[in-house]
């Protein structure tokens, strides 16, 4: 904003200094944003300890331990025989290696520099480091779309947004921790290639996409969003050669690189998730050819060419499409995988794949969870969308498309709110930055008018306004939507008309919106208050809602803080008091933790890749003792683990999950019928429960000797007394119950070695008859 009377040389020197100062300020701000992103995720480390949370991170941690101990070749070829007994699991071919390799590399690098951090520490802190990287990537992406101010704003918002914090706290060592960074960075490189048309960035884009494929199954979002955007550009007439350079190398290189990852393999060319990219690839080539020929020919000849090509091309197109449709329709799921299909058709999973439907993360979100997870951004997004349209460029149309698809997917599955978070932050950053620039410009204009109260004031204002970008009346409604929630809306409308008359006077070339002084100051103050509310909410969410490690529970009571460390107690008991080769059966939720912490072989775990195996365990838990013993014995199981929350009021225990076991078991073994366990359609375990429920293994293992705790057997989670209070176990024996009765371990009683001599003959007759009747009922023979 140089004054007209200053000499040009000094003005350019002053401009350079200002630019340098701006650059340094920007760098310092980015550093601070990174520090905020890192520190806000450390609440769980401060409140509890540096421990890995939840279930899935334990598997990733175990894989990283293996990688750090045995090296990368062993990791690629690792066949794990300690899970899914007796099937085992090919880890090298079924895990997304990005997270593990990243953490392993960081660990190896630090150790080679003689900084001896343990693998666990590196794993715990990987997520906060990569969220700092993600906010810097957001800065770069938004800078490509709208400029530095919007970039800094978006980065600051992303550093704190609760939805991203929920999946990347210190200790949440899961795929999304690095995948979101890879997602934003890939989008940044795509937009950069689109803006510059440089093949170098296209190569980097493909490599970043490779990193994303390595990290998360959600990479299909990228390989479907980018073709959608290319199609949008073509259809809206924004085809350019830069679009070709941005898209075509990405498809080829990206498909090849995706096929390199063992998990994806040939799915990269054979599943429907990737077909959109090939289709748009062909369409792009056709369009490119058309534009090229249009450049060569005269218009009349071009029309002739078009008619010829269209008649021939349509016939060929029909044939190809018919073949493709026939191929795809021949597979029952139309070539899509179960999880992707459940995204497109939300009712698919509940009808066909109960395991996918039972995961709580796969349920649709409720309305309050939007305000919990993205808070203030929820009503800054529409302002951002409008701002993207003024002016519409390739980059800003990409943002809008990304947001719209992300909103749809987040509405289907609550876990995908995470994909919405960067889009929300970017658009809110754009909106806020535009509002701030309008308001500060108004203040500057009003102040300059106030201080030089001379006829040259209008002349001063024109160089000021010419250094700003072009705006028009649409700004009215946009800056109205942003401070929508502020009071005194009516006053503002009246004053806006006054402002209009003010701006018409000084310039003829550009009409800039300038608001009255008090209004602008008020607006800026209120926006800062809004930002303050957002920050307070984010910190509260990070500290209270999303920092629970779920392996350690705490509760406050009159005599202080109680810590429930039962899970680790049980796993430690298992690892110290059982043989290395003993098999432990439990519901699949606890599989990863058991293999990682107790180091024992499990039957089923959280990978849930084999539905029949899980149904077997579910059937065993739902059967009476003897049938369950038979099933577990056929699987070589030694110990059974159940989680019981009735004594302390822990609601996510196995009794509450029991109906899912029945459903999944009943889906494969028809003799388990869900209505058998319900009384009048209601699930209960008190005196009104059905006999099948009261005799099943899960009930018995959970409530064995429970009546000894308070004499009445009052279950604190269900809120009533249990039905069957005094019973003995015939085929299992209790070996360990943790301090708060949350985890209970039972051992299978071995079969009787010999029978008493007198009863031998009648016993043999009895056993043969039971065997005969057993054969009818028991599906295992």
């Amino acid at each position: 904003m140089a004054e007209p009377e200053v000499s040009p040389a000094a003005a350019s020197g002053g401009g350079r200094l200002r630019n340098a100062f701006g650059g340094v300020l920007c760098a310092i701000t980015l550093l601070l944003i990174g520090v905020v992103a890192f520190s806000i995720r450390l609440f769980s480390v401060i409140k509890y300890e540096s421990v890995i949370h939840e279930f899935d991170p334990y598997f990733n941690f175990r894989v990283t331990q293996f990688l750090s101990k045995n090296g990368i070749y062993e990791f690629w070829n690792w066949f794990d025989d300690r899970t899914w007994y007796p099937l085992g699991r090919v880890i090298g071919g079924t895990v997304y290696p990005g997270l593990t390799l990243t953490a392993g590399t960081i660990w190896w690098l630090l150790n080679s520099l003689n900084i001896p951090l343990s693998v666990e520490t590196v794993c715990v802190f990987t997520a906060p480091i990569f969220s700092a990287n993600a906010s810097w990537a957001t800065y770069l992406l938004t800078k490509e779309a709208k400029g530095t101010g919007a970039g800094l704003m978006a980065a600051a918002i992303l550093a704190m947004v609760p939805s991203y914090i929920s999946r990347s706290v210190a200790g949440s060592y899961d795929n999304e921790a690095v995948a979101i960074f890879a997602l934003i960075f890939t989008f940044y490189l795509y937009v950069k290639t689109l803006n510059t048309g440089s093949l170098f960035y296209a190569t980097l884009n493909a490599l970043s996409y490779f990193y994303m494929v390595c990290s998360w199954g959600g990479y299909t979002f990228i390989i479907n969003l980018i073709p959608m955007h290319v199609l949008l550009c073509i259809v809206t007439g924004r085809y350019s050669s830069r679009l070709y350079i941005a898209y075509a190398p990405l498809v080829i290189l990206g498909t090849l690189l995706a096929a390199l990852v063992p998990v994806v393999g040939f799915n990269a060319v054979m599943t429907s998730e990737h077909f959109a990219s090939f289709l748009v690839f062909i369409i792009l080539h056709v369009v490119a050819l058309v534009y090229y020929i249009k450049g060569l020919l005269t218009p009349r000849l071009f029309k002739v060419a078009m008619t010829l090509v269209i008649s021939v091309g349509l016939a060929v197109c029909f044939a190809v499409v018919a073949i493709l449709v026939a191929l795809v329709a021949s597979s029952p799921t139309k070539g899509w995988s179960g999880r992707s299909l459940s995204l497109l058709d939300p009712t698919y999973a509940s009808k066909y794949i109960p395991i996918i439907a039972s995961v709580s993360e796969h349920q649709p979100p409720t309305w309050p969870s939007y305000f919990m997870d993205i808070n203030v951004l929820a009503f800054l997004i529409p302002a951002g969308i409008i701002s993207c349209f003024l002016p519409l460029s390739d980059a800003s149309s990409f943002m809008v498309l990304y947001l719209v698809t992300a909103v749809y997917f987040s509405g289907v599955m609550v876990r995908l709110m995470l994909v919405l978070a960067p889009a929300a932050c970017i658009l809110s950053g754009i909106a806020l930055s535009e509002v701030f620039s309008v308001l500060t410009r108004s203040i500057k204009f009003q102040l300059s008018k106030f201080f030089d109260d001379s006829p040259t004031s209008s002349g001063d204002s024109s160089p000021e306004s010419s250094t700003n970008s072009t705006k028009n009346e649409n700004r009215n409604e946009k800056s109205e939507t942003a401070p929508k929630e502020k009071p005194s809306k009516k006053n503002r409308k009246k004053e806006k008309e006054l402002a209009e008359s003010v701006t018409v006077k000084p310039k003829k070339e550009k009409r800039l919106l300038v608001l009255p002084f008090e209004l602008s100051v008020m607006g800026i103050l209120l926006l800062i208050v809004l930002g303050g509310f957002y920050v307070v909410h984010c910190v509260w969410a990070a500290a209270e809602a999303y920092s629970a490690p779920s392996i350690v529970l705490t509760s406050r009571s009159r005599d202080g803080l109680h810590v429930f460390d039962d899970f680790r107690e049980a796993y430690a008991w298992l690892s110290h008091n059982t043989d290395v080769d003993d098999k432990v059966a439990s519901w699949w939720d606890y599989g990863y933790q058991t293999t990682a912490m107790a180091n024992r072989t499990v039957i089923v775990d959280n990978n849930t890749w084999n539905n029949t195996h899980i149904a077997t365990v579910g059937t065993a838990m739902s059967s009476p003792e003897k049938a369950a013993w038979e099933i577990f014995n056929s699987l070589d199981v030694k110990y059974v683990l159940v989680v019981f929350g009735g004594l302390v009021g822990y609601p996510s225990d196995d009794i509450n999950k029991f109906l899912w076991m029945v459903r999944i078991g009943g889906g494969v073994f028809p003799h388990i019928k869900e209505p058998d366990y319900l009384r009048d359609g209601q699930y209960r375990v008190d005196a009104q429960a059905t006999p099948t429920m009261l005799n099943c293994l899960m009930y018995k293992l959970c409530y064995y000797r429970f009546v000894e705790t308070d004499g009445k057997g009052f279950d604190r989670v269900r809120g009533y007394e249990i039905g069957k209070k005094h019973f003995k176990l015939t085929h299992f024996e209790e070996v360990f119950t943790t301090h708060h009765w949350m985890v209970r371990l039972y051992k299978l009683k071995p079969q009787k070695n010999r029978v008493r001599g007198k009863l031998k003959k009648s016993k043999s007759a009895k056993t043969s008859s039971t065997l005969a009747t057993g054969q009818k009922k028991n599906p295992w023979q």
Partner: protein
Amino acid sequence: MPRATSDAKLLIQSLGKAYAATPTNLKIIDLYVVFVVATALIQVAYMGLVGSFPFNSFLSGVLSCIGTAVLAVCLRIQVNKDNKEFKDLPPERAFADFVLCNLVLHLVIMNFLG
């Protein structure tokens, strides 16, 4: 119908004339693209004859051909003097990008060839 055929002949003639006017370096790139696409078609025909095992070799062969074709087209776009958007991009830089991208592509191909 004769109108259509004469139109078609005129069309092809004018296409040929307009194409002959393009500079030689662009024609070399076009020839390279045609050669590469022909190689890809030969590979697909061979796969049709012999079967698609091992599939990764077939994929890497075909995709390397299509990949180099695409990269050559990108190079042609960037080097073409009629293209306003790439006016201030020196052709050496375009060629260097082309070489780099080809290096990455062929490194991946070598890995995937099996």
